[in-house]
């Protein structure tokens, strides 16, 4: 499908919805591959929360647009360049440390962002934000706990977490490179960035991980539909069934 959103609010919301669904997909890939059973269930549970959050956001977008398409169409029938998720969440599950660092960075961002949206002038969006905030906080607790365990665990676990953090931090700059749309719908973009940066610095220090000098990759902004090389692969797996069997029903 060629998606053309008419309303600014849905153009903003689709960034949040896409970020949720893509991270949900990455965590779903971990199903049956967790380091042990309880953790496998934890990641699958968080994945479900993200899919649920994405679905509610897509429903809201469909409603604002008065669209004849559904959340499923939006997820399964758009191409890479029509997705507007932050690149952080499309980064692969290289190992468990990547899963945790990615989740920690995302949850901290999502918690502050949805926290601000609880006072949105759109009552439905505000209600949704109140609802999902509880879930994000729980997931954040889980990720923060694992940051400590990996960072302060063994030499090997610390080394792996450091490697994951070094890679993932390359995809942070664009998140805070706000545009007019962000500034319209996020009450306080400046505090979103400072809250995130301060909390991350404190955490990394506490779990013995260095904040190294990083070189940001030369890929254009996610707000214009640009992605890292991992996005196409992710979509080809996620969208395979509905593309091979259009309109298939369970």
């Amino acid at each position: 499908m060629k998606l053309e959103l008419q309303h600014d609010e849905s153009k903003f919301l689709i960034r949040l919805a896409d970020t949720s669904v893509i991270l949900g997909q990455r965590l779903a890939e971990m199903c049956s591959r967790g380091p042990f059973l309880e953790e496998d269930m934890a990641l699958s549970n968080i994945s479900l929360d993200l899919f649920g959050r994405a679905e509610e956001l897509y429903k809201l977008i469909c409603k604002i647009e008065g669209a004849d398409y559904t959340p499923d169409d939006l997820v399964y029938r758009r191409n890479e360049r029509e997705y507007y998720n932050i690149k952080l969440v499309e980064q692969p599950n290289e190992d468990f440390a990547w899963v945790i660092a990615r989740q920690f960075f995302h949850d901290l961002y999502a918690e502050t962002l949805f926290g601000q949206l609880t006072t949105s002038s759109n009552a439905e969006l505000a209600g949704l934000a109140v609802k999902v905030l509880k879930e994000i906080k729980y997931s954040h607790m889980h990720a923060a706990d694992w940051m400590d365990r990996l960072g302060l665990g063994t030499e090997e676990s610390n080394h792996r977490l450091q490697y994951a953090v070094d890679h993932l931090r390359k995809y942070i700059v664009e998140i805070f490179d706000f545009d007019d749309l962000d500034r319209r719908f996020i009450a306080d973009t400046a505090s979103l960035e400072t809250t995130w940066r301060n909390a991350v610095s404190a955490k990394l220090q506490a779990c013995n991980i260095e904040e190294k000098e990083i070189v940001t990759p030369s890929i254009r902004d996610f707000r214009d539909g640009y992605h890292s090389e991992h996005m196409g692969n992710l979509l080809s797996i996620m969208q395979y069934l509905p593309r091979a069997y259009p309109d298939a029903k369970w």
Binding site: M41, G52, G127, K134, E135
Partner: protein, 157 residues
């Protein structure tokens, strides 16, 4: 056109016959999922529900089960609407419901997840095994006293 309170009461009764698909001992009214029952002017029965967690796999099933029950009771025009606000909370569970959970072997939610009682031996000396359990609303604990593992229904507010 009947929209008497009596009729609504009967419908609420019918809805208490719909069990939660994952914890069948609790019904959807007790769980706080059913928020309102209305009959519109054209006689459509309108049920307003709210999901426990946004990603709860039983979300769609709630609607199907409610629909099925009302059809069984002879209703024809049924509309089910899901709303997110006010957000579902375990504060809506009654004392009686909490007791039912305990009897069923699921430790019920306590204020801030602080004191968690083993449903088997009733000891309060228990430890968290995993923040996430078999459903989004539960986490896994072990009792330090009787050593039995059990599910705890998370405090959600």
């Amino acid at each position: 056109m009947m929209t008497t309170t009596e009729e609504h009461k009967e419908i609420w009764e019918f809805l208490t016959e719909v069990p939660d698909p994952e914890i069948p001992v609790i019904n959807l009214v007790e769980l706080g999922v059913v928020r309102a029952v209305d009959v519109t002017e054209d006689g459509t029965l309108k049920i307003t529900i709210t999901p426990t967690y946004t990603g709860c796999p039983a979300k769609k099933l709630f609607e199907d089960l409610i629909h099925e029950k009302l059809v069984e009771k002879g209703f024809e025009k049924i509309e089910i609407e899901s709303v997110l606000s006010p957000a579902w909370t375990t504060d809506w569970l009654s004392e009686e419901t909490l007791q039912k959970m305990m009897d069923e072997g699921i430790s019920p939610p306590t204020d801030g997840d602080k004191v968690i009682q083993c449903p088997n031996c009733k000891s309060k000396d228990t430890k968290l095994v995993s923040q996430f359990g078999s459903t989004p609303c539960q986490s896994l604990y072990t009792c330090n006293e009787c050593k039995e593992p059990f599910n705890y229904f998370k405090c959600h507010r």
